[in-house]
């Protein structure tokens, strides 16, 4: 069986993704919060720093925030998929 490079890379991606997920059971005490948040917390706590500006608009809840993140990924994926669809169609019509 001849293994395509794309297949190998895709499998590698899936494996590495799931190993990261598996990691979450290996480190039981961790909270899995965002590194960004941790960095800002360090500044706030160790230096008593008060941010001098606030976001113009904030998602009202974690649910709405995850909706917007999902939307961000969806829009991106849609564009990428559309583009590859066109390329594939073009390639096939050339044959």
């Amino acid at each position: 069986m001849k293994l395509e490079v794309t297949t190998i890379l895709a499998v590698l991606l899936v494996i590495s993704f799931f190993s990261l997920l598996a990691l979450t059971t290996a480190i039981p005490k961790a909270e899995w919060g965002g590194a960004d948040g941790q960095g800002m917390e360090l500044i706030e706590q160790s230096l008593n720093y008060e941010p001098w500006a606030n976001p113009i608009w904030e998602p009202p809840s974690g649910e709405v925030e995850s909706l917007l993140f999902a939307l961000q990924a969806a829009i991106g994926s849609l564009i990428i998929g559309y583009y590859f669809g066109i390329l594939k169609g073009r390639k096939e019509s050339e044959k």
Partner: protein, 224 residues
């Protein structure tokens, strides 16, 4: 790597904006030139931006017990070089600052410098270096993405360290603290981003896209 709104003292906001604006401006200029010269490039520019959109939306758990996200800039680095990548990055950062309260307008300059400029520039240099050593396109793409991703977070750590030096121990000590939070977490994600970019390049190539034809002239390593 997102420094939250209001989390950098004003003078540092100004410094990073001053650094970011000319480079983003140059990226816009280059993108326009490219579009005039090569009509077919526009869809690929949009796809490259979309790639940043997708990858920077994915928050992944990592070895440090916290989560972070890839930057997605590696593909742009390989296809178009760092300045156009800076332009594409600022679009995504602006979207996230306005709609997700992720990052901020006051810190947009700083976040653009880390994710859009220094990370991609180092990724680009690494790419050139390995490509000149006759390393294949996919491996070189991996290297470019790995460095663009990782260095972004090292720069964030540096930006926070210089703005907030520890009272005892100074910049170096606080850099160590921020480095621990940002850069260590990022290593596995940078590897994943590298694989993703290699896959994207391979797919583009298989579909007949000459992936190295839009790189900045003079430094291009394209065999074509």
């Amino acid at each position: 790597m997102h420094i939250a709104e209001g989390f950098l003292p004003l003078e540092w906001c100004v410094v990073w904006y001053a650094l970011a604006i000319p480079i983003v401006g140059y990226g816009i200029y280059r993108a326009q030139k490219l579009r005039e010269r090569e009509q077919g490039v526009m869809p690929l520019l949009v796809v490259t931006a979309a790639f940043i959109f997708v990858l920077s939306a994915l928050k992944l758990p990592s070895v440090t017990g916290s989560c972070s996200h890839p930057t997605g800039t590696g593909l742009g680095v390989v296809l178009f070089g760092p300045s156009i990548t800076a332009f594409l990055s600022i679009i995504v950062l602006l979207f996230q600052a306005l709609l997700l309260a992720h990052g901020g307008i006051t810190t947009l300059g700083a976040n653009t410098v880390s994710m859009g400029i220094v990370g991609p520039a180092v990724g680009w240099l690494a790419y050139i270096a390995v490509r000149k050593m006759k390393v294949g396109l996919l491996t070189s793409g991996f290297v470019a993405a790995f460095f663009a991703d990782l260095v972004t977070y090292v720069v964030t750590a540096g930006q926070l360290a210089t703005a907030f030096p520890a009272t005892k121990g100074g910049i170096l000590l606080s850099f160590e603290a921020f480095f621990g939070i940002f850069a260590v977490t990022q290593v596995p994600l940078a590897i994943i981003e590298g694989i993703t970019v290699a896959l994207a390049l391979k797919l583009l190539q298989e579909h007949g896209v000459a992936v190295e034809m839009w790189q900045p002239k003079g430094v291009s390593v394209s065999e074509a």
